[in-house]
Symmetry: C5
Subunit: 366 residues, 5 copies
């Protein structure tokens, strides 16, 4: 008779809170992968380039990278898959990464951050992509370790995030090929931030669809949908905000690994993040306003229901009373024997009803 | 019987979220116009002036501007229309603009900002004008590139935003003619900010109209209207806030393109923006208060409906019961044969009603 | 039958938003008075004083002030009335005021501020006075231009704001007479801030009156009154806050027009403003709490109405049903002919009612 | 029939807003006591101490303090009662206090603050004590003037606030006796702040009591009680916050009257204030949550009332209809003469009721 | 008939506010234990280690630690139990701890903080552990006093918080053994912060459980549960926030007790705290959203109840009226004698009902 609450939509996977792997009191740098295995084997894609040449190689052992690293050309090694801790450890030790870097790469609940170490600049970001098949967000952690002459990047899966950058490298983009690895690092981060714009658009679409739903009719699952949307926006903001702050510090501070004339590009990424953040705040405001609108819609409906009940009851209860009076069985009820009494009663009833209708019209209820 | 929810008002065009054109991973400075074509052909209006003379020219090729740029007089080139990327590229390259400036001019979702480049000062602002025909806001992005001796400005359409400045130039305004292009830049920005005051007034009118509507009667579309108004204010604030912050930095920092004695004028624009921002915050507070007021109005109405129902039901239900009792067909009901029973019952009913009315009066319901 | 929404109280004049006079693109310093004419002719009251003497003069032309300005004694010229722009312009030019100062004096929507110019310190404040006749706030803009040896002050009307200061001057207050015009500027500002305390008290009274009203009974105009009160507080805060911030900067920064040992007095005014601001925040919190309290009162009333309805309906609907059963006309209803059936039915009805009453008592509804 | 709103609890005296005594435009330092007379005569308690001796004296004229002030021992004069302005003026002038200090001591609406003057450090605090007799808060303003070798303290009443400090002095506390008057000032402030903890506990008790009341049953005065509690917390915070900020500045800045190795103690008081402030914020959050909880309780009750009404009405209205049908007086109603019709109707009614009960059980209403 | 409010869950012990032990005006450093006795006797575990050896000793008198403290190896003394003030005083005096440190160790309501004293660095933290038996949080205060060559730590109970660190020491962790006591202090703090992650997960589980409960059905204890959860989160945040701020200062400032190359580890703890704080904020947002969702669920239920009532009443009240009309006893009612009148009335009734059902379907109520 009354609609059921619509079936609960599954909360997106990435919103479910994750277990923090490290046991209390473990040494820093204790390595334990906190994500899920998303790829069969750890893959290493090496890309060696300078202004004149570009070489792409799939290597299996990190030692194979030695000749490229030793050469003056710039080297970018992209590592796909984080589940094989032993193999990763081998890679990290080969590059002498600080234990805290190692711990952060593998702990996939990391807050986005940029940290400077004596020989490295370390970036952790969260990639977010709208999966076109499912319409859901795919989320994974990406780490970038910038060294003097090389870049190490780590992804959880083999999603081709950095394909556009590779594409540009192959097409001989002079700025990319000519600048040092700090410019490549910028290009990688910029790619991820560009995906954020797509995610923002995705949220914008969701919000407009939900807004239309609220205005069109009544759906009991709206509060839940608003709640989920709000959680997704909070999650998104949590990914964007710390990165923005870290970039801001990066731009202001001296850094021996990032050249001053490349900072203008980092500032541009920073601007994009500010813009995304504005968008998120905007959407959050709208989502809160949507709940208000929904609640007010619910109130309006309740009001409407009450008015129908009141109109019906108010018209018929007095009439029923009149009918009840002349249904009484007293022996001495003089009206009962008057011939015109029955039509008179009908007239009285009709006039009462007309009066009620007039009253409701004045009250603006009809 | 019950009013329908009023037809949905179209959400203003500029509130619909726009697509971010850049594909993830594209090189910075990849040029792709994100707005709509609003003018047939790109127009170039050149204005060359100093204290003694003023020349206005419509040129078709940017190269025609060479003699004016080379002369010591100040040159202002206003470019109308952003859809012809090829033509714009030609202009930008002629002026050797940084690729990031180029990208920002053409990406019309830009956050307002002021950025310093080695040879230029770059301003992006959002012009907002109340269209007198439609009563809606017309929004477009305006970019200003300030160089040592010239100004380049870019608009999306041929709306005569800068007409008042031109008018003053033609009338020989000595301060404007005498100062360098930094003062002209100020004049252009000040013009746009003056339009913001008109927009603020427009919102003030809308708010007062809506407030009157809420107090006068009941309209189910009010939550939606409040929601839209709130979104417009958020949008407006988003246009004003970043400009204010950028101007604040501009005033505090050294800048080789803006003379110190002209900074007092920029400070004045900054003050105006602070004032506008105060106004927006004020209006936002009022809009939130309006929703509270509306909800309380809805509660009051519901209360009123409930009271009518309760009064009618409470008076007639007991009376109907009494009538029902003497409608029973028991053989032995001594009251039925008492001659004065019928008038006695009427008296009882009238007394009951009077008691109820007295009770409601005491409760302050009548 | 049901109370009407009480007649709308007029929103105070000063809350109605004002038109911004300047047309977009006009030169800064374009002079256009934005208020209303509040006085017939512009009046100039000149007061020349030092520790030994005090002279008060009503002058008609600003040139008459020359001998006083040239003398080493301090000169204070109070200008009443801002509508005669030509006359004012003449005065300003006589004192060589910066065009932006001129624009700000005459634009009566100004945000309170303190600005330093090469030869002047410029103060804009909003005077707020509780009009004892109307119980409303009178608001007007006051500007003070502090120079090396003189003070120019501008009011919109001839309200005797500065009478108390004059009074002290006449009574030979040694500190006031002895110190420079910076101390006089302090005294003028302090006078205006003292009026703010009166305004704060006025709001405190209004809040307590409204609070009593909410607790005593039910009045449908309460949300509107709360809304208006809130707007007034916002407006008041908007007048106080920027002044406080400007004073804070004034105290911290070097200033050649304000002597260091007088800064302690400006700090005292600053403290007063902080205190007023605390009071406003306090009242804002209380006003928000009042609306919650009112809404909860409304809920309580609705609850009460519902309970009355429910009690009446729940008691009589079953009884009416019983009466209805024995009003049926079936030929074979054995109960009808039992002599004790009628009293038995009455007993049943009374017991049912008693059961209901017991149930309601248990539920705490009676 | 329906409960009355419980009698209004008097709002605590100290929450009623006080009149600001100073008339607009009065000279700073114009002395006018703003509190109430709480003690018959102004009392002066003098305490002269160093590591070896302690003398306590009740003096009547401030001149009697001369020998103690001239001696190298430290002197503390506690002045009780602020209503006799003439007498106080005499004391202040004897100590050559700045006019602004004088004004602040006597104006008992002062915001807590610490100000440095050339020869003095001036502290204004608000003492708050839970009166064990009334369960209410007693509030009074305490001022402390720290000089090179002496302390002046001012209270409104003769409440023995500083008794514990005196007690320690008498017992020969070596740290207190040995350190300068800056340590004594610390001890006095610390005593007042310790009372704040008691006040905080008092609020904690009130909150828990109110929380229990909300959960246990329904009381219409709850919104009002929550509102009053909230106001008290706001008032308390207003007393604590500015003191905390002033102490923070005191710790950071150089001060010639407070020795550096005593600053650690002031830092400790600061820590206590931060802790108290945390507690207040915590309680404010809880109080807001309480109102939500109460509103939700009210909604639940309303829901319950509605359900009872609906169940009764839904069961009996159809039954009454059936009874009504067979109470009609048509001549040709074949059912009326069927012998088993009456029991059949009863069966139908019972089945209808059972169906309704089943429906309500399914809906989880019974 | 209507569900009872579910039995109140006990509010967790640690949320009940604690009494502040110190009586107003007591000397700083007056020692009074504010917690409960959680262990029979105070225990002292001494651990002496360097890169080569590790010795663990249970000592009974603090003097027994002398040989270890005098040796160049690092010494860690963990004190369990805070109730025996005399014994503790003896220990503190042996180490010459500042009286304010002593007071803070024993006052177990301490805000987390890090303070530098001439010879010590003093850390106070709150340990929070999810008790696996009860599912509740166990809370206790931990203090760490870092000296040049030793560490003193104080716990309230004998909970083996630091067991993991001991375990690593025993297993010869080279970094831990090799670095100074500042690294050990880091390891202890890091252990406690790691427990915070577990607590955060625990809250995440509680939130998701409660969210499921809200969506699945209706439970009147939800507002209370939400309220308790909110309080727990506030409490947790209050434990985390000040520690984060203190660590931030520690990282930025110079400190003679913490070596610069160990600061990177403290920065890592700081990062963890920021992450935990983000999580808490996130959860707080979600908890607020949950209450909105619950309220909207309650509204929906009320709406549903109202609709059932309205449908039943609206269908049967008019029908009952019709039946009532023909139950009247007028002598001249021509319809009564028409043979087809009775079936006609039934037809009318059925049509009326059908019309109502159609109307409700159109309104989307059925």
């Amino acid at each position: 008779m009354v609609k059921k609450i619509s079936k609960r939509r599954p909360i997106p996977h990435f919103l479910r809170h994750k277990k923090h792997s490290k046991k209390p009191g473990q040494a820093p740098g204790t390595l334990h992968f906190t994500g899920e295995k998303r790829i069969e084997n750890v893959q290493l894609n090496l890309c060696d380039y300078d202004i004149d040449q570009l070489g792409e190689y799939d290597i299996t052992e990190i030692e194979e990278s030695k000749p490229y690293l030793d050469s003056p050309s710039k080297t970018w090694i992209n590592v796909l898959g984080l589940h094989d801790v032993e193999k990763l450890k081998h890679i990290w030790n080969y590059f002498e990464l600080h234990p805290l870097i190692q711990e952060d790469i593998i702990n996939t609940n990391q807050r986005a951050k940029i940290e400077e170490y004596p020989n490295n600049m370390f970036f952790v970001l969260r990639m977010m992509v709208v999966n076109e098949a499912t319409g859901q967000l795919d989320v994974e952690q990406v780490s970038i370790v910038l060294s003097k002459n090389s870049i190490l990047s780590f992804q959880e899966s083999d999603y081709p995030i950095f394909e556009p950058v590779l594409h540009r490298l192959r097409n001989g983009a002079p700025r990319l090929r000519n600048h040092g690895p700090d410019y490549l690092a910028y290009a990688l981060i910029d790619t991820i931030v560009d995906y954020y714009f797509k995610v923002l658009e995705h949220f914008g679409d969701e919000i407009e669809a939900l807004e239309d739903k609220i205005l069109e009719g009544f759906d009991e699952s709206i509060p839940e949908q608003v709640h989920t949307l709000r959680r997704k926006l909070i999650y998104f903001r949590k990914s964007v905000w710390p990165l923005r702050d870290s970039l801001n510090s990066l731009i202001r501070d001296e850094s021996h690994l990032i050249q001053d004339d490349n900072k203008i590009y980092y500032r541009d990424v920073y601007d994009h993040l500010v813009q995304i953040n504005d968008g998120i705040e905007n959407y959050r405001d709208m989502v809160i306003g949507m709940l208000d609108m929904h609640m007010s819609q619910v109130s309006n409906r309740m009001n409407e229901v009450m008015k129908v009940l009141t109109i019906i009851a108010t018209i018929f209860i007095p009439l029923t009373f009149i009918a009840g009076v002349y249904g009484m069985n007293f022996e001495y009820m003089p009206e009962l024997s008057i011939p015109w009494a029955y039509p008179a009663i009908w007239t009285l009833m009709i006039l009462t009803t007309a009066g009620m209708v007039f009253f409701f019209r004045k009250k603006d209820w009809l």
